[in-house]
Symmetry: C2
């Protein structure tokens, strides 16, 4: 899914009010950089690091942001998880392992809705992500109001750090997205109107009568319906109909090489 | 989200009937390995590569699978996209850039539902992903029945290859997941019954009366209600109630160091 339009508004990226992403003891600066990229994809702006093993502004970190370096540069570093979340009202913790604790667990989708609600009431929220290998330890989990657990292959649910951030951020973004689930790109033209489609059917069927394709009068009605169904299903635009008119016209009346015509006649199975 | 339970059933990972993931001209074997990991996370098993720049079984590819190497080993390599999709019935293509084409575009969520429907009818489906930098070219896109476009920050929508695969695979998995959106881990115990909670309130309030905390009779009813609301909101388990009984009992009747008691009295603001 390459492609970023840097001329488009980047308003949501300020991340004002959105969840703060808190990485607890991340190991590799490259992973922190990839987290910054995933955050920018999802319109999240505020990153906090608890006791990172590597300097996030060195090594492979900045390159891994793929352009989201502003998030890395503005990231703050903290000694403890408690310090990193001190100013927040609610904290969620991501985990793939069940803990020996009594906790509410939400899917990323439900958690996204909960977080949107909390933010709309003016609460400051954050999400904890553990180190790459082991995940959050139980003392960090105990600081959270709620756990987030993604339903994934139970036999292989361990996600890369940036991918865990992406899933949670993706659901955060979807929870407010007004993108229609399905649309048709019509690319400067417009969907055909039925009279235009019927006009094309008329043209096609006249030429098919003229060239003999529909000569079997018993089968003609069924063949016509089958052809019409093909083009009905295609959801054609006005521009495409004009192209198809041209295709039919040129196939029927365009230049012919007599030898090639003979060859095609031999190779093509006759209809039915 | 670390944590994978390798003893749990891995049935869905065979990926039988699930979408085939087709990577068109991937550049780095490390990215192909990360795609295999994301596929395994989402219960997808079949990977095809069109003209990869690097050998996917060399370099950083196998290590990047983090244990999903079986998907890499079973991946097939093809010269052209047309060859890679030849046996499929429907093909979706992921893209972040709008193309000069008339195409249906679905969100990953809607596409997951569509793909599940097609698979349930016995169709073989596949999803195309383009090279890391440029995405799919227009000739590859034209081979697809439908496009998938993830609603993300429009000013920064370019996803890492494995992350694009993860989002689509995640939605594929969610479309059949029966995970409850919210649950409470009760960890071997059970939610408390109301008579147990009321019994605890009785214990707490008796001791607070005895120690003088509730001595202001005008304010007593409101203070009691406030305290009860705190513990009502907590959604306590039977085990936690037993712990709280112990806390109250020990606070009230446990061992005391006279000097420490004096110090606490000086430091603690009196109620109200």
């Amino acid at each position: 899914m390459a492609g970023t339009d840097r001329t488009r508004a980047n308003a949501s990226v300020a991340g004002a009010g959105g969840p703060v992403i808190v990485l607890v003891r991340p190991q590799l600066s490259e992973n922190v950089g990839m987290v910054a990229r995933a955050m920018m994809n999802c319109g999240l702006g505020e990153l906090r690091l608890v006791a990172p093993r590597e300097d996030h502004l060195s090594g492979k970190g900045p390159a891994a942001t793929s352009g989201a370096h502003v998030i890395l540069e503005n990231a703050t570093v903290h000694d403890t998880t408690a310090e990193a979340i001190a100013d927040l009202n609610r904290v969620f913790a991501t985990t793939a392992r069940r803990r020996d604790m009594v906790k509410i667990v939400q899917t990323p989708r439900r958690a996204a809705g909960t977080l949107r609600e909390l933010v709309s009431r003016g609460e400051r929220v954050g999400i904890l992500f553990g180190p790459e290998r082991a995940g959050l330890d139980n003392d960090d989990v105990a600081l959270a109001d709620c756990l987030i657990e993604a339903p994934l292959n139970p036999a292989f649910s361990s996600l890369n750090l940036a991918q865990a951030v992406l899933l949670v951020g993706y659901e955060w973004f979807q929870a407010e997205s007004d993108a229609p689930p399905e649309q048709v790109i019509v690319n400067g033209t417009r969907p055909a109107e039925k009279h235009e489609l019927l006009n094309f059917f008329g043209h096609l069927e006249r030429e098919l009568d003229a060239c003999g394709f529909l000569r079997n009068t018993d089968k003609r009605p069924g063949m016509v319906r089958n052809l019409r169904n093909i083009f009905e299903r295609a959801g054609l635009t006005e521009q495409e109909l004009r192209t198809l008119h041209g295709v039919v016209k040129e196939l029927r009346h365009g230049r012919r090489d007599p030898a090639w015509s003979e060859h095609v006649r031999e190779q093509t199975p006759t209809p039915d």
